[in-house]
Structures are given as structure tokens and as C-alpha cells.
């Protein structure tokens, strides 16, 4: 349940946030200062973050939208 929750949280992260969190996890595990159980949880989260980052990168929709100035015309 907790796992499901954290994974749905991950899918909401922006690429920048995901990378930031991933960096934190890699550092934590590298330093070995967290308990083993935690590091396993963090590892799983790290993998989920990497997957999420890849998904974002592979999305590649190449969208171009046009912003119309008109919708704000009353300001002018």
C-alpha cells in the first residue's frame, strides 16, 4: 500500500524533481548511513525514479502550441 502510494507520487514528479530525489537516494545509499531495510526501500524508489525519468524522456511528443495574445487582449 505504501509502495503503491510512493509510486503514484513519483509519477507526478517533474523530471527535475525526480533527478533531485534520485541524486539524494544515490548519495544516501553510497554513504551507507541508513539501515539496510531503508536502503532497500530507497533502492526500489531510486529504480522507480529512473524508470519515471526514462518515461519522461521517451515521451518525446515534440509538441508546439501557439499562445495567442488575443485571449489577454483586454489587458492592452
Amino acid at each position: 500500500m505504501a509502495k503503491n502510494k510512493s509510486q503514484s507520487d513519483i509519477s507526478k514528479l517533474s523530471f527535475e524533481q525526480a533527478i533531485k530525489e534520485l541524486t539524494g537516494i544515490v548519495e544516501k545509499i553510497e554513504q551507507g548511513k541508513i539501515p539496510l531495510q531503508d536502503s532497500l526501500t530507497q533502492y526500489e524508489k531510486g529504480m522507480a525514479l529512473i524508470k519515471h525519468c526514462r518515461t519522461i524522456l521517451q515521451k518525446a511528443e515534440q509538441r508546439i502550441e501557439k499562445i495567442s495574445a488575443e485571449e489577454n487582449s483586454e489587458d492592452r
Binding site: E30, S39, Y43, R63, K66
Partner: protein, 486 residues
């Protein structure tokens, strides 16, 4: 001879030229010819006359000449890169040459019909037999004013701190939504879009079309920047790219004006400028948070390369895998070490040890109790023996006899003492009775007392005639008498 007039209003007096030449080497050679052929007109070689003209020009023209004219017959030599052209006005032409070294610093492409200011020196091209302007600098006329305005604006805004690094906002590392502010029809739009998608295809781009040159373009660019900033809560743009393709200084002018510069400076969204060619620097470039030298370089400045990022991600994944693997191995090793320890090999050992210890205690306790019991029994027995030896009934009988004896002795002694004391008392009583003065009264003696003095009457002096006397007889009988004669 009449002087002639140059553009600058410079008058050259031919007489002055001649007088100069008398002192020069060429002049002396001329004299040599004139001496030799005294009666004829002077005859020069071509080189001589060209050299003469060259020296005349050199010594009489200022070293730096500025000419305002129109370009005509512009030609750049393909191999050498040197440029040959004419400067002309309504009534004449001036042949010009510009060496490629000078041409390379030009910021515009000279064309026929273009009004320019040409700076250089006039000299004779001996081989061509013509004088020409050797042009060091060429300025597009009218652009000079723009350039001045540009420099003034740079100075003003720099003094205000608009270009200071401290105001430069960082560009997000991984932008997700990028706004592009340029002309919808320009080539710059495609250059920018391609350069971004080529590196970072996972981004959403938003085009905000604005005119990028001409009247009112600067104001519209500024308004667009402000508009996007105001609406960014909804638009959520990470970066804004403001750009256009290359062109003349006039074409780029919208990006040199103060209004868009201030809008760029005030923008909360980080702005990347991508204006013109590599060599063009606009005010917008100076005030923007980052500058792309051309629209095609916008992507490099705005977004990371997806290949690098994917590689970095794979690298992270490898590191994570290695780390967790090492961590697990270590934990497993620790577990093994712990399982191999004595506690886990024979987990009941501590219990057994305690049990044994307990058994030992119990044994010792029983032994001690037994010993204690034996010792107590022994001492009890010894006490009994002693008690038996004492024979209390005999002792009691003996003590009773002794006691009776003592009592008898005490009684006898007390009786003896009482008798002795009684005899002593009687003796003393008898002696005391003999000593009583009144005892003599019974033998007929009496005692006379004078009540006046209370004293016994012993002599006559003790009494007076008329005194009452009291005389005590035996048996305490008293008689009263009065002295009648003495």
C-alpha cells in the same frame, strides 16, 4: 596656376609642390634632364611622372581622408578577398581598394548604391597609372547614428546594472515547457525549434508570435514578455527564448531598444536571447539571462542533450545497483558471521551452564545443611552430658541443708544480739536513774526556784524579801512560799 579643390576644401598650390621638389632627389634629376636638353620641353618617363605625382599627392594631402559617397561597382576578388569599388557622386568617381584584412572587420555587406563613409588615404597605384582611395574603414551611412545610439544605450543600461551577472537568473537544467518569442514566419522559429527538439525532444514548446522588425516591433516584443510573465501561473513556462535571424543592424534594431531590454530585465521567467548572427550583439543579448549566439544555438543554451541525460541515468542505475549489491553482500556476510558464532551453534549452552551452576549450588547447600545439623546435634549431646553430670536433685538437697543451717545460725545470732542489747539497756537505765537530780527528792531533798528569775535559789543573793519561791518536792509536788526574813 590655379589650385584645385578637394572634398575637404583643401587647396593645393602647385607652386608649393614645385618648390618642394627642388630640394628632393627627383627634382635634381629633373634638373639634370632640363640641363641636358635645355632648349626642348622636359621629357619624363612614365615611372618618373607617376612617382612625381605620387610624391606631390603624398606631401600635400592629409594622411587620413574621409569621403562620403555612394558605392558603385563593388567587387570582391575571390582568391585574395580584397575589394575593389568606386565611390561616386553626381559629378565624379573615385576608385577605391579595401584590403581583405580591413574588410573582415566590417559588420555589413557593402552593396552598390549604398551610402557610406569611407576612411583611408589617397595614393597612386603606379602600375595602374591611377590614384585611388585605400579604404581602411567603411561605415554604412545612417547606421553610424544607430551605432551611436546603441553604444549610448549600452552605457546607460550598464550604469543601471541591467547587465550585471548578479541579476542573471539560472536556466533550469531540465526545462519542460519553453516559450519561444519570435516571428511566426521567420526561419529563426524553425532553427530554434529544431535545435531544441534535436537535443531534448521531451519538451513542450509554446510559440508566442511577435513581429521582430519594423515599426512597433520593440514595443510588441516587450508587451509579449510582460504578457507571458503575467500569465505564467497558467502557462508554467520554465524558460523564454526571444530571438530572430540575422539581418542588418536596422533589422535587428528592435532588440536594441530600451523597452524590450527593460521587459527582459524585469521578466521572472529566465530569458535566453537568440538574435542574429554570431557577430551580432544586441542590447537584448546583454540583458538576457543567457545568450545563444544564433537561433540555431538556442537549443544548446536552453536544454540538455537527451543522450547525455540518458547516459547519466544509466550510470546512476549502475551505481545504485552496485551499491545495493555491495550492501546486501555485506549484510549477508555479517549474518554469516553472526550465525557462525557460539551462541547460534549451541543456543542452549548458556542455559545448561546456568543449570549446572544451579546444581552445584544445591549440592553445596545440602552438604552445608547436613554439616550444620551434625555439629548442632553433637553440641546438644555434649550439653546433655554436662547437665547429667551436674545431678541437680542432690545439689538441691545439699543446698536446703546449708540453707537451714544458715537460717538457724542467723536466728541464734539475732537472739544473742537482742539479749546482749537488752542487758546493756537495763544497766544504762539503772545508771541513768541514779543520775536523775530529782531522784534525791525522794530522799527528802527539795529544789527551790525563784519564779522572778526562773533560776534555782542557791545563795541569799538570789532572792529578796517578799519574793515568792516555788519548792519542788518528790512526786512532782509543788509548794509556794514567801521570803519573810533572810
Amino acid at each position: 596656376m590655379r589650385g584645385f579643390v578637394l572634398d575637404q576644401g583643401l587647396r593645393i598650390d602647385i607652386r608649393a609642390v614645385l618648390s618642394y621638389n627642388r630640394s628632393g632627389s627627383l627634382a635634381s634629376r629633373c634638373r639634370f634632364y632640363s640641363n641636358k636638353m635645355q632648349n626642348k620641353a622636359k621629357i619624363y618617363t612614365v615611372s618618373e611622372i607617376n612617382l612625381l605625382i605620387q610624391s606631390v599627392l603624398k606631401s600635400n594631402l592629409p594622411a587620413k581622408i574621409i569621403v562620403q559617397a555612394e558605392i558603385s561597382g563593388w567587387k570582391q576578388q575571390y582568391n585574395s578577398g580584397h575589394c575593389y569599388f568606386l565611390l561616386k557622386d553626381e559629378s565624379g568617381i573615385l576608385p577605391c581598394v579595401m584590403w581583405s584584412s580591413n574588410f573582415s572587420s566590417l559588420r555589413f555587406s557593402p552593396e552598390d548604391g549604398m551610402s557610406v563613409l569611407a576612411t583611408g588615404r589617397v595614393d597612386v597605384f603606379l602600375k595602374g597609372g591611377k590614384y585611388q582611395l585605400y579604404v581602411d574603414r567603411l561605415e554604412q551611412l545612417g547606421v553610424g547614428a544607430l551605432q551611436l545610439a546603441f553604444e549610448q544605450m549600452v552605457r546607460k543600461l550598464r550604469a543601471e546594472g541591467l547587465f550585471d551577472d548578479i541579476h542573471k537568473k539560472p536556466i533550469p537544467t531540465y526545462p519542460e515547457r519553453i516559450g519561444i518569442l519570435t516571428s511566426e514566419s521567420g526561419a529563426a522559429l524553425h532553427d530554434i525549434v529544431d535545435s531544441i527538439f534535436h537535443r531534448w525532444p521531451c519538451v513542450d514548446l509554446f510559440l508566442y508570435p511577435v513581429p521582430v522588425q519594423g515599426e512597433g516591433a520593440a514595443e510588441q516584443i516587450a508587451a509579449a514578455i510582460r504578457d507571458i510573465n503575467e500569465r505564467n501561473e497558467k502557462l508554467r513556462l520554465d524558460v523564454l527564448i526571444v530571438g530572430r535571424g540575422g539581418g542588418s543592424l536596422e533589422d535587428l534594431w528592435a532588440f536594441n531598444e530600451e523597452v524590450p531590454a527593460r521587459a527582459v530585465f524585469e521578466s521572472k521567467i529566465p530569458i535566453i536571447s537568440a538574435v542574429g548572427h554570431e557577430v551580432d550583439t544586441t542590447i537584448a543579448d546583454l540583458v538576457a539571462d543567457r545568450r545563444a549566439s544564433t537561433p540555431t544555438k538556442a537549443g544548446v543554451e536552453a536544454v540538455p542533450d537527451i543522450r547525455d541525460v540518458l547516459a547519466a541515468l544509466s550510470n546512476r542505475q549502475r551505481i545504485l545497483n552496485n551499491d545495493i549489491k555491495r550492501r546486501l553482500e555485506l549484510a549477508q556476510q555479517n549474518l554469516k558471521t553472526i550465525l557462525a558464532s557460539a551462541v547460534f551453534r549451541n543456543p542452549l549452552l548458556p542455559v545448561r551452564n546456568r543449570e549446572q551452576q544451579l546444581d552445584e549450588f544445591v549440592g553445596r547447600l545440602v552438604e552445608t545443611a547436613k554439616e550444620l545439623l551434625a555439629v548442632t546435634r553433637e553440641s546438644l549431646h555434649a550439653a546433655y552430658e554436662q547437665v547429667v553430670k551436674i545431678e541437680p536433685h542432690l545439689l538441691l538437697a545439699k543446698k536446703t541443708v546449708e540453707l537451714n543451717e544458715l537460717r538457724n545460725r542467723v536466728i541464734a545470732a539475732v537472739v544473742a544480739v537482742a539479749n546482749s542489747k537488752r542487758m546493756q539497756l537495763t544497766a544504762q537505765e539503772n545508771r541513768l536513774a541514779g543520775l536523775n537530780p530529782k531522784s534525791v527528792l525522794q530522799r527528802g531533798y527539795s529544789i527551790t526556784t525563784a519564779p522572778k528569775t526562773g533560776l534555782l535559789v542557791r545563795t541569799l543573793e538570789d532572792i529578796e524579801v517578799g519574793d515568792f519561791l516555788i519548792t519542788e518536792l518528790s512526786e512532782e509536788n509543788l509548794i509556794e512560799s514567801r521570803v519573810t526574813k533572810k
